[in-house]
């Protein structure tokens, strides 16, 4: 290998690590976009006609939504990537893939209780649906 090629490999490697690996411990800082990763949790209450939850910045909003049994819930994906709204475990409800900018609806469980749901693509996204 020529000396210039070796130098290029070394320089590219140094640039790559300087660009990002050091930021792994601080994912929210540096040159990261203005998206907030940890918005303050809010609690929402459903209207009799149904409820609405928003997906934004990889977060379900509100973090705890209260609805009546069997209510129709509308999920709006305001992120730039696809998400789902899926009840964990028994798959009590599942919107399937909601593409960016799209909306999906699902029916809340008929039994009162507190249901944790996630995005199956991004399992670290979690929120709660309270039926009462």
């Amino acid at each position: 290998m020529r000396k210039t090629a070796r130098t290029a490999v070394a320089a590219a490697t140094v640039a790559l690590f300087a660009a990002g690996v050091g930021d792994c411990s601080n994912p929210g800082g540096g040159t990261a976009p203005s998206r907030s990763r940890t918005p303050a949790p809010r609690t929402g209450t459903a209207t009799p006609a149904g409820a609405r939850l928003t997906i934004k910045d990889f977060t379900f909003r509100p973090a705890n939504l209260s609805v009546r049994p069997g209510a129709t819930v509308t999920a709006v994906n305001e992120d730039s990537t696809t998400h789902t709204v899926t009840a964990g475990g028994a798959r009590l409800f599942d919107t399937g893939s909601i593409k960016p900018g799209r909306t999906a609806t699902f029916r809340a469980p008929g039994r009162a209780g507190r249901y944790t749901y996630t995005c199956t693509i991004h399992p670290y996204m979690k929120a709660t649906l309270t039926v009462r």
């Binding site: 070796r6 690996v21 792994c24 994912p27 929210g28 990889f58 990537t81 696809t82 693509i121 670290y124």
Partner: protein
Amino acid sequence: MAPDHRAPRRPGRIARDAARLLAAAGLALDAYVHARLAGRYDGVTATIGQGMLFRVEAALAALAALLVLVWRRPGGDTFAWLVATGGLALLLLYTYVDVGAPGPLPDMYEPHWSADKKLAALGQAVAVLATVFLLLTRTRGPRRDRR
């Protein structure tokens, strides 16, 4: 009794063998994580799905690991370096920059550092460093770095 003509293993050779193992392990880890996550990301689609891209990355990383470990030639080391460096660059790009959905590619922006992403990045970073070492310490001349 015939004299033993085998030369003792030099420290440089041992270091290169260790680097090969590290590069292959890092690439194998990269391949494993991407192959495992591919199904989950099939829902993120444009013309090409993110799951398919993950499978391509897994296949390339697995091939690179094999080449580094078995073929042991500069061409294979360079290919492995390209796969690891390209994979790590894309991982960092899609973590810190929302580039949207250019051309046939889906929007793969994901700012969260999940455990799987950390694992893949670790494997890629180790592979990058190990392959750089292999490429920069390559010996010239008739002596080949082959068994």
